[in-house]
């Protein structure tokens, strides 16, 4: 029987805004114009949040972007000091109307940011909704340029302002209203709750993180530089994902929050998108990956999501959105009696020694090193054994020996570090072991100690 399976339904509905798939373009340079958004929809994007509109076009500086490169990898992180749209409101609204007419089934959401008066907000909301757009996103997140003018994150960082402006918008808005949150706060649940209290239909997060991406070591000028000077900019890209995931989960698990979330922050691969959704996001928004590679990335985002859903047996997005939210809790709810230890599959070991030195210098001194005889050398592919001038040369051998690494399971604390640094797929795995500690949380342990029913757990045996 063939293995052809029907495609799962990946249509999404965020606070009443429907899109053929959960992949939206975030409000940013890729959504600057009708031309770009039309191309994006043709490429397969499900929705787009128009680059933020204001009453008057702003003036941008040159240069504007900076990147965090890492050991030969470009754009692991990215920042910008670009402002909201530099085109007139009339031009933008005309194009919004046209795009919505051309793509009736795609989500066209418009990001807005104006001065903090009721009149200004009422005016722009009405004019924007007149285009037939599907929803509004209030930009309370931009951390640079606009915030110094009392807009963007200047609103998002004060819950009272967030609530107030949201209320103004909701007084006139006919379409769903999303509030875009800034991560530049101590506790994301505060602005999240304020948005809900103001009547928001959903939130999107995270906006960019306040940052200085780097310093040019030749000129000593900050990056990006504008005539030798720089400014704090908004940080995004793959490296911010963990921060965004945490904030999304925090809101999703907050019982006094309870409105839909659009997840943003470093989505580049399908796995990133699914992680956001498992932690509570109904859909995701993408910017940096598109700025790096163009609109075509949506093709492999979509195929990856569909394949994973088929493998897992999920028919719709609702089948898995939020599924991991409840598995995240406070540290003191974790089971102290759970134990894993590392195990090295010698047949896959390439003898790089990275596990050994990481454990030895950076963790718990629980990997033993010994010399391996040539008979024990794993049967890797032919490239690992090279014959030249009548002699065999083994990859990983040098000065007449090959190192063999083995986990000292009796002292291994199960920290994962070796399995993380190991470059060989499937070589080091973490194996569940029976623990000498009974199943209990830290709280239960404290209670047991206090009541005298439990002895202190001895510290691990280190060197």
């Amino acid at each position: 029987m063939s293995n052809l399976r029907s495609k799962p339904d990946i249509s999404a509905n965020l606070a009443g805004i429907k899109s053929p798939n959960p992949f939206w373009l975030a409000s940013a340079p890729p959504t600057n114009s009708g031309y770009q958004i039309s191309r994006a929809f043709e490429a397969g994007w499900g929705g787009a949040v128009w680059k933020t509109l204001g009453h008057e076009p702003i003036v941008n500086v040159s240069s504007r972007y900076g990147a965090l490169d890492y050991d030969g990898r470009k754009m692991v992180g990215f920042n910008n000091i670009e402002l909201i749209t530099d085109r007139t409101l009339e031009t933008n609204l005309k194009e919004v109307r046209q795009v919505k007419r051309d793509f009736p089934n795609h989500a066209v959401v418009v990001s807005l940011m104006v001065e903090s008066t009721r009149e200004a907000w009422h005016d722009i909301v009405k004019r924007t909704e007149d285009t037939g757009c599907d929803g509004l996103e209030l930009n309370f997140g931009c951390p640079h340029g606009m915030s110094e003018r009392g807009m963007g994150s200047a609103v998002g960082q004060v819950p009272e302002y967030t609530k107030m402006v949201t209320e103004w918008v909701k007084e006139v808005a006919q379409t769903p209203v999303l509030v875009k949150l800034t991560p530049n706060v101590t506790d994301i649940t505060q602005p999240g709750r304020a948005a809900r209290e103001g009547g928001a239909d959903g939130v999107s997060l995270i906006n960019t993180i306040n940052s200085i991406i780097g310093v040019d070591l030749d000129t000593l000028a900050p990056i990006p530089q504008v005539d030798g000077k720089g400014s704090h900019g908004g940080y995004c890209g793959p490296a911010v994902k963990p921060i965004a995931l945490n904030m999304v989960q925090k809101l999703a698990s907050d019982s006094s929050f309870g409105i839909p979330i659009s997840g943003i922050g470093g989505v580049q691969a399908w796995q990133d998108a699914i992680e956001f959704m498992l932690l509570g996001a109904t859909n995701v928004q993408v910017c940096t990956a598109v700025m790096h590679y163009g609109f075509r990335i949506v093709e492999h985002l979509t195929s990856g999501l569909e394949n994973w859903m088929r493998d897992k047996g999920f028919q719709t997005l609702d089948d898995f959105v939020g599924k991991t939210v409840a598995s995240v809790g406070n540290w003191n709810t974790l089971n102290l009696g759970y134990k894993v230890v590392a195990e090295i599959d010698q047949s896959k070991c390439i003898h790089c020694g990275l596990c050994y030195i990481a454990c030895e210098d950076g963790a718990h001194q629980s990997i033993a090193k010994s010399l391996m005889s040539e008979e024990d050398y794993p049967s890797h592919g032919s490239a690992a054994r090279l014959t030249s001038a009548g002699r065999e040369y083994l990859a990983g051998a040098g000065d007449g020996y090959v190192n063999r690494y083995e986990i000292k399971q009796e002292t291994c604390v199960g920290c994962n570090l070796c399995s993380i640094v190991c470059p060989a797929d499937g070589c080091i795995t973490m194996i569940e072991k029976e623990s000498t500690i009974p199943r209990m949380t830290w709280t239960e342990y404290q209670e047991g100690m206090a009541s005298g029913t439990m002895d202190p757990i001895p510290p691990p045996d280190h060197v």
Partner: protein
């Protein structure tokens, strides 16, 4: 027939261009990013000079080629030559764990070249002479072993005087490696900073036994690092005929004059299947020979040329005759017209197999140039003249001999190895000499 190459200057310069062109920065960083930064790195252990390979690759990755060059040159002052001519497939790259992980090693040789080229191009100097100890050392031979030893001794503050029989320094490094691996200009440019350390170099200065005795009186220590001499003789008829040449002379011509003046036969027969044989065979092709054949008594399984060199030969269209040995150089009208060969059978296994000539199997391989590449003999007549026993001369891996104050190193202590081995020999001899001069040998 033998004559000047018929190839144009343009064709020759293309044929003798770098075997491995230099990496661009993008190529270097991309390849460097494949280095895993192994602990107790196999590549470093496989390097005879012990260069800290992961460290210098990390320095390249982090855009610091100057520090990378210092890391390399600190262990191997001829790191630029080794980057070009080392058989990396059986040294650092042969040990690279990426061979297991990715089926291909990090290109360590080319990365090493990237760093050392950067230092050379920017005329960087990393090392200064040590404070003067008042001790003096004479070094006979300015090849890789002598240079490495002299450099290390200058860092330790000893005065160094170097004697070279030829009119240019560098030994085989300068004139004995195929020019598409190491050019004469490159070798000489790499020697310059070594001499700048304060080595007093005497060119065109052959040291004989009498002078050696005098040097031993005048200097606190003497290193003999005179390398290898002529190719082993076959002792068969016709060996001294015109058209029968020695491998090193054949390579030498590409370094001493313009390539258009190099002489090559039309049909070239190379006797031997070692790395030098591979060098002369590919060089004959590149000089325009219309056919080149390598003949060897054993087979490709026993040949001493590295697999990589063998592949290079095959790519250059060289033909191979296995299990044959020369018995006579054949003359026609006073010139070489071929080599009479005899088939042999191998009795036994591997390189120890006994060669059994097959009677009646003789045939003539036509050629107008026959190049002998059968291994060279260490130049030990110098030592021999002194009455010392060359065979039992070297006592330890620090070049110490049974004669007080006399040290020996490099190819003349064995039958020839790589540049990198000679450098290490020189380094070790310097350590031995330094300990001796400081009275704690």
């Amino acid at each position: 027939m033998i004559g000047k190459t018929r190839l144009s200057e343009e064709q020759l310069s293309e044929n003798f261009a770098d075997l491995h062109p230099a990496f661009s920065r993008d190529e270097a960083v991309s390849d460097a990013s494949k280095c895993l930064f192994c602990f107790d790195a196999p590549c470093m252990r496989a390097c005879p000079t012990g260069i800290d390979v992961p460290k210098f690759i990390r320095q390249i990755l982090h855009d610091d080629p100057a520090s990378a060059a210092e890391t390399i040159l600190d262990e191997n002052i001829l790191g630029g030559s080794c980057a070009r001519a080392c058989p990396t497939e059986v040294l650092c790259e042969g040990a690279c764990v990426d061979r297991t992980l990715l089926n291909a090693p990090v290109q360590i040789g080319r990365l090493q070249r990237y760093a050392t080229d950067y230092a050379a191009l920017n005329n960087l100097r990393f090392f200064a002479p040590g404070s003067a100890t008042g001790k003096s050392v004479a070094i006979i031979g300015s090849g890789p072993a002598g240079l490495a030893c002299g450099f290390a001794l200058r860092r330790s503050g000893h005065a160094v005087t170097m004697f070279e029989a030829r009119d240019i320094p560098g030994g085989l490094n300068t004139h004995g490696i195929s020019a598409y691996k190491i050019s004469t200009e490159f070798s000489l440019s790499e020697i310059e900073p070594i001499l700048e350390m304060g080595i007093d170099l005497h060119l065109d200065h052959y040291v004989d036994a009498n002078e050696l005795a005098r040097l031993r009186q005048e200097y606190d220590a003497v290193l003999v690092a005179v390398g290898l001499g002529s190719t082993s003789r076959l002792n068969i008829p016709g060996e001294d005929m015109e058209g029968v040449v020695e491998s090193l002379d054949f390579i030498f011509q590409t370094h001493t004059g313009p390539l258009v003046n190099c002489e090559v036969g039309d049909q070239v027969l190379v006797l031997g299947a070692g790395n030098t044989a591979a060098d002369v065979a590919t060089q004959a092709v590149r000089l325009g020979a219309s056919s080149v054949t390598m003949a060897y008594r054993r087979t490709d399984r026993e040949m001493s040329a590295f697999a990589y060199e063998y592949e290079l030969c095959k790519a250059d269209g060289i033909e191979f005759r296995w299990r044959v040995q020369p018995i006579e150089f054949v003359e026609t009208n006073g010139k070489l017209s071929g080599v009479r060969m005899q088939r042999v059978e191998l009795v036994g296994e591997g390189r120890e197999a006994h060669l059994e000539p097959v009677t009646g199997s003789e045939f003539v391989l036509p050629c107008d140039m026959a190049i002998k590449a059968l291994g060279q003999i260490p130049v030990l007549e110098l030592i021999g003249e002194t009455g010392l026993d060359p065979g039992a001369l070297k006592l330890d891996d620090r070049g110490t001999t049974s004669v007080d104050g006399l040290f020996i190193g490099g190819d003349c202590t064995h039958t020839g190895a790589e540049i990198v081995d000679a450098v290490q020999d020189g380094k070790m001899a310097a350590a031995g000499i330094d300990a001796y001069l400081r009275g704690n040998s």
